[in-house]
């Protein structure tokens, strides 16, 4: 069944069709959400909120763009809103993660170092300007081609290429002094 057929079924009150649609897109939504929030629990909560929003606003989908583009737009916008409204919670989570370390194949010092390094990388990604972060996450977490990213972000391909280039430079600049020495 195509996305359009599923949407028609859903608008005719067939809930099973929505479950099918959700199973088709949940991994891409979850992965994108992971790029923004970095924890499984938050990404699941966010994915849940996104699909409820998709269900509620499905009647507004005109079919002018691909359904996947539409769902990516909702995902990215809701992820940014989620991050903005959960800054304090996420700070606490990252501190908590520092004190709850566990791994079988690394000694405590190595583990501490690797966790600290990951935390710094995440923080560097999170501190990118919103547009750069959007382009970076869609490109690296979802491996979308620049053309698709441009459609999702309503920008030209050239602009997306520039955003990706700047994101890369910014990350290097932010991390060169602390990571990878």
């Amino acid at each position: 069944m195509t996305d359009e057929q599923l949407i028609r079924e859903i608008t005719a009150d067939n809930n099973a069709a929505f479950k099918t649609l959700m199973e088709r897109y949940q991994l891409q939504v979850f992965r994108t959400a992971m790029g923004f929030v970095h924890t499984k629990e938050d990404a699941e909560d966010l994915t849940q909120e996104i699909f409820i929003r998709v269900y509620q606003s499905l009647h507004t989908f005109q079919g002018g763009s691909e359904f996947s583009t539409w769902i990516y737009r909702i995902t990215v916008n809701m992820s940014l809103n989620f991050v903005r409204s959960n800054i304090k919670k996420r700070l606490l989570q990252s501190l908590e993660a520092l004190f709850t370390l566990s791994s079988e194949d690394k000694n405590p010092l190595e583990e501490l170092e690797s966790d600290e390094r990951d935390r710094r990388i995440r923080r560097a990604i999170d501190s990118l300007p919103e547009k750069q972060r959007m382009a970076f996450i869609l490109s690296r977490y979802e491996e979308l081609p620049q053309k698709k990213i441009a459609t999702v972000m309503n920008r030209s391909e050239g602009a997306v290429e520039q955003l990706l280039q700047r994101a890369k430079e910014n990350l290097k600049k932010k991390l060169s002094s602390t990571v990878g020495k």
Binding site: Q26, F30, Q48, I52, I121, Y141, L175
Partner: protein, 99 residues
């Protein structure tokens, strides 16, 4: 190069994370719950609206009835003067004399 590699490694790890297999079921349950709540609210809204309209109409009629004053006398005389003194008899008499 090293930084690029570390970023790639972190992204690879995060991409390997899979969501709870019951996530779709959880979302469906929430959607279903919201729908039921909404339909319940709609029924209650309809019932409340109908009851309010009926109450307002009843109250209006009651208040209206309580203020009615009887302006007509309980016993009224309806006197038709023509029945008291029927002038027709006199007219009839005059006509007879004239003939």
């Amino acid at each position: 190069m090293q930084i690029e590699h570390l970023i790639d490694e972190l992204i690879r790890q995060e991409k390997e994370t899979v969501p709870n297999p019951f996530l779709a079921t959880r979302v469906m349950a929430q959607i279903e719950g919201a729908r039921k709540r909404r339909s319940k609210v709609t029924i209650w809204q309809t019932v409340t609206l109908a009851a309010s309209i009926a109450a307002v109409a009843f109250l209006g009629v009651s208040i209206g009835n309580s203020n009615v004053t009887k302006e007509t006398a309980e016993v009224a005389l309806n006197i038709n003067d023509r029945q008291i003194e029927n002038l027709g008899y006199y007219n009839f008499g005059n006509d007879e004399q004239g003939q």
